[in-house]
Amino acid sequence: MSKSTFAIGGVHPHDNKLARDCRIEVLPPAPTMYVSVAQHLGAPALPVVEVGDKVKVGQVIAGPGGFVSTYVHAPVSGTVKSIGPRADLAGRPVTHIEIAVEGDEWMEGIDRSDNLVTEIPTDNQAIIEKIHSAGVVGLGGATFPTHIKLSPPPGSKCERVIINGCECEPYLTSDYRVLLEKGEQMVVGAAILAQVMGNVPCTVAIEENKPEAIAHIREVIAKLGFKNLEVMEMKMRYPQGSEKQLIDAVMHRQVRSGGLPISVGAVVQNVGTALAVYDAVQKNKPLIDNTITVTGECFPKQANLQVRVGTPFRYIIDFLGGMPADAAKVISGGPMMGKAVANLDAATLKGTSALLFLTEKQTRRAPESACIRCGKCADACPMGLEPFLLQKLSRIADTEALEANAAQDCIECGCCLYSCPAHIPLLDVIRTGKGLALGAIKARAAAAKAAAEAAKK
């Protein structure tokens, strides 16, 4: 069988999986943890504890702040020290709940044993409720609340669940290690997701640079006997792990501009999310930790760590032997889509996938020169956009033309910037244009809604 991949665009960065052979280590909690209430897409959660309260591991400390929102749980046991604004990794003030750690006392009802529970409950609504109350969000990067993704709008039907194990970003290895070390749990989680979506077939998509993971998951599926699960070996290509690209690669269907994956019958969930779903449904364990790759050529100790949510970055770095002297930039996430960390005192979030250390030489940008109309960016764009045009329109802030040229469909993968021989900061500029186009679309929707309401009256 030939290996599948998405139809247009994409680039081939060197995969640099330095930490691929490092087993997942459990990082002990830091003495003080800072849990953000904005760990998911949508409205920030609202704190339900007060300063001075004693909390246990897994206790709800913040509830949903809107429809698109979810719960946040205490990752440690201890006393709530403060609730207030604290700078996140970008330096912006976000409400954090500070917890001083005392012991490691867990909430009752959480199964902390290692036994694999393969018996899946039959009540789908109860499963979704459990996933919601466990605060599970998409761990592929966007941190969209999972329970909403699992409740498709009426009229739409899911035909296939895709488990995203591509990990196409260079350096990242956390999903790979989860596949190898927690493959059984992940597979049960995937089976739960497939059952909730109506007993549909489920594809675990893994890129060809992880043959051990592919073999292992195939073995596990055969052993556990899930008939509707299969593993698909994908050709290596960035950004294969992006939702729309993966649907194209697996199902050969394209999601319309502005449409949801469910419109073509697909639901995509990350490997980490599947594991979190297993923990939530089978073990009653809310999402309080995740696997983070700590890596970089200049970093002395490569590692994959199981980290409790809310651990300060500095604590992780010190645990692994301190900041390397020649590190010039720290990135939260992968090198392509990750965010530069402006504040090392910031704490990890549910969606934090990696800490990457780059040297001055690796991060230095080449001087920008004029666009020579070579069209490499347009070839590289997996969304079929024209980055050279969008960047011009963004610079002159022509919102109408930006929208007409689908700037709002940009997935910010960075392929254009990666491929540009003139070193034009295409993505940086286009991101502002995308904001303009999205703003115009939102404003129009709001105006239409207001007009409809006025007409009703």
Binding site: P85, A90, P93, A340, A342, R365, P425, T432
Partner: protein, 312 residues
Amino acid sequence: MTNTVIWTIAIITVLGLVLALVLFLVAKKFKVEEDPRIDEVEKVMPGANCGGCGFAGCRAFSEAAVKSPDLEGIFCPVGGNDVMAKVASILGFEVKAKAPEVAVVRCNGTCEARPRVNEYDGFATCAVKSALYAGDTACAYGCLGCGDCVSACQFGALSMDPATGLPVVDEEKCTACGACVKACPKKIIELRQKGPRGMREFVSCVNKDKGPVAKKACANACIGCGLCAKTCIHDAITMAVNIAWIDSYKCKLCRECEAVCPTGAIHGVNFPKPLDKDAVKARIAERKKKAAEAKAAEAALIAEAAKEAAHE
């Protein structure tokens, strides 16, 4: 040979005349009737096409002005009251004078006062930088220093001061068109009343953090202590989310707030004399003492009256 030349000239001439006639007839038939006042108004406009009025340019402004029933909400910030007077006289309206305004930069986080905590190596515009993160200092509200306001200004009234890293407004050139206000992603530029002889007081900080956090990030930050608001006897200062704001319509330019501000976040500009802080503080102390004495005297009087009432 000669014949050819003559024929050519004749044919071209006739052709030209016929086509000219066609053009003339078409122009006559499809003539668009336009209010001649639009042209007249456009002539008195500054012609900068800056869009500061909210219309696409001076022509669009003129069209809107002619259509408008009372010139309400139509104002050319560049031309100011002079141009508006001319426009009003063309259209036969009464002139409504508006207090002249000027752009004011509400950040005084100089390089010295606001140490850099990280280095930005991305695309150097404020719009891109602010989309990525809070900025290269610990203050998430202050000037990003990439000069989007400078490039937005069509009148050359803004420039970056390399020593402070902050934009400087040239009051002579500033027309209060508001382009910089729109361009600044941090919203630190405000259009304020120019004030008598250009004198004005304003809080040069927009940091919403609590005092200690703001102070740690920037030595010149407004820490929201509220001393200015307590001192002001004109009720011109309001406190909201840890920052003070001076209402230029109520401010009487007494400069007391500037004198008591512990961080120097309140700026007074264009005053003839530099601020003598001690003198102003002495004046405030004197006033407070007098007020306390008056209060004590009043209390004594009331006590006396009560005593007398008790005696009777």
